[in-house]
Amino acid sequence: MPNMVLPLLHNEITKMTRTKLPYFGLFSVFLICLLLSFTTTAWNDSDTLNAWGYVGLCMQCVFTDVGLIFIAVFCAMLIAEETGFGTARVVLSSPVLRWEFYTAKVLIGLLYMVVMFATALLLSILLGSLKFQFGNVADSAGIIYGAKEVLGNFLLALFLDMLPMSALVMYGVFISAVTKRSGQAIGLVIGSIILIETTKNFINIGPYVFTTYRGFSWSIFHYIAQGVDYQWFPEIWKMIVVSLIYCFVIFTAGLIIFAKRDLNG
């Protein structure tokens, strides 16, 4: 029998395009980018302000708060909604294995995250190019970083920011797999993130929590865009390792729990 992950993913895309939540998320990204295009000048040194700085700021703002919430909520609903309404039973009594179902849910979560990134990127580049200039980062004394170096760092920041966000996707789907209703799952995912964020520094676990690294790469890129000295390493290694460990552990735990779960009513 063929692997059903792709047909399931196809179904997930069909469903995603017909629900409102993903569009609200994208609209909120648009609003943030638009608002920042008016307020960035008030926050930054006008001498070094450029389109890179604006795009970096947009990405950081989007994925530190609003984007994070929408991605977490979207992922938390993926399985819980289906078990709550009973549609998971319909799908899983077709020739579909639990791991295929779970993997397709993770993939649609990652796809939504990528769509959010792409939307934020396109909008911020579009709005940024209308008001500011892409190119070299320079001040009155001359060029600080060349356009190629800035672009390379920009792409690195983009890639690196996807790691903690991928861990967030895994976490959202995990919560979705262990709850029975979407309301429960949303409450648990948001509540637990708030709890972790407010307590992690008191108990000195901050560096070991993936949410600490959300927007982290953008904050470094922001320095570059402002022409300030920057250093990716060694902090970024910690971010990569922590994010990848969370991705693997949460994905595996969620999959095992979901595979063993009874789905009767």
């Binding site: 047909p7 179904n11 469903k15 549609t87 009594s93 009874d262």
Partner: protein, 275 residues
């Protein structure tokens, strides 16, 4: 068509959940078409359409879209087939409406339509006519009958409506407390009693006490003023007919009493409340 009966809480739905790999059995194995459901699920479920308890849908999608999603998983998403199912389930006119706007009966028909995707050889249905009006019930069951007759489909149906099972099923399985109590062919189970006769008199009521004094009569139950059920002991209908005529009774009808599935169910489960 095979009926699956049992009192409330007997384990009917749980058994069907286990057959659909939604609940893990604590022991034992379940095989469908020779394939173990837990070891070789895809091959086991490949030719099976299931509807356990209430059918569920993506209510924000149309009926057609819901069927398309399932068809994609069953590798049979030809739109002509989907239209054919919608037509057969009398949902074609409203195929593009959101399922959220459907009535209970329409959802039940759509749920049944979903099980027909992918040319199944076996349907496992849990109370498929639950909440449907009598006409809809008859229509669905007749449709299944036609599928069985013309397409060689097998249907395993769990129902608490005994008359439904009595009328449409060929075999029944009865479970209670999670165990199989009995099974058999409906025709054999409902075969008329040879020694229990229903007698209708033409003009007057019978004196039951008087009849009980006769050697060959074990039990007399009064049904109405002029009708009784007589259980014979080592005697037959010819003997009874002669006896009654000799005693001056005018018998207008004397027939072997037909068994009902309800009687059979009660006799094997002893559960009056859930009949």
């Amino acid at each position: 068509m095979v009926g699956f009966l049992g009192p409330n809480g007997a384990g009917k739905s749980t058994a069907l959940y286990m057959a659909s790999r939604l609940v893990r059995p604590s022991s034992g194995t379940i095989k469908i078409f020779g394939h173990d459901v837990w070891r070789d699920f895809k091959n086991a479920i490949r030719h099976v359409g299931t509807m356990v308890e209430m059918p569920s849908f993506y209510e924000y999608l149309s009926a057609r879209k819901n069927l398309e999603l399932i068809a994609r998983l069953r590798g049979n998403s030809a739109s002509s087939k989907i239209d054919e199912i919608l037509e057969r389930m009398r949902l074609f006119e409203r195929r593009n409406d959101k399922v959220a706007t459907y009535s209970h009966g329409m959802k039940q028909r759509l749920g049944l339509g979903m099980t027909l995707i992918g040319k199944p050889k076996l349907l496992i249905l849990d109370e498929p006519t639950n909440g449907m009006d009598p006409e809809g019930t008859r229509e669905i069951l007749s449709f299944l009958r036609e599928k069985i007759k013309n397409h060689g489909l097998a249907v395993f149906i769990s129902s608490h409506l005994l008359y439904e099972v009595e009328e449409y099923c060929d075999r029944v399985f009865v479970i209670n407390h999670g165990s199989l109590i009995t099974s058999g062919k409906v025709r054999e189970i409902l075969a008329p009693h040879e020694n229990v006769l229903q007698v209708t008199f033409h003009d007057k009521a019978v004196d039951t006490d008087y009849l009980l004094n006769e050697d060959g009569i074990e039990l007399v139950e009064s049904l109405s003023n002029n009708s009784v059920v007589i259980t014979l002991k080592n005697r037959d209908a010819v003997w009874l007919n002669k006896l009654l005529l000799d005693r001056g009774y005018h018998v207008s009808a004397l027939t072997p009493k037909q068994k009902t599935l309800k009687e059979f169910f009660l006799s094997v489960t002893g559960d009056e409340n859930n009949a």
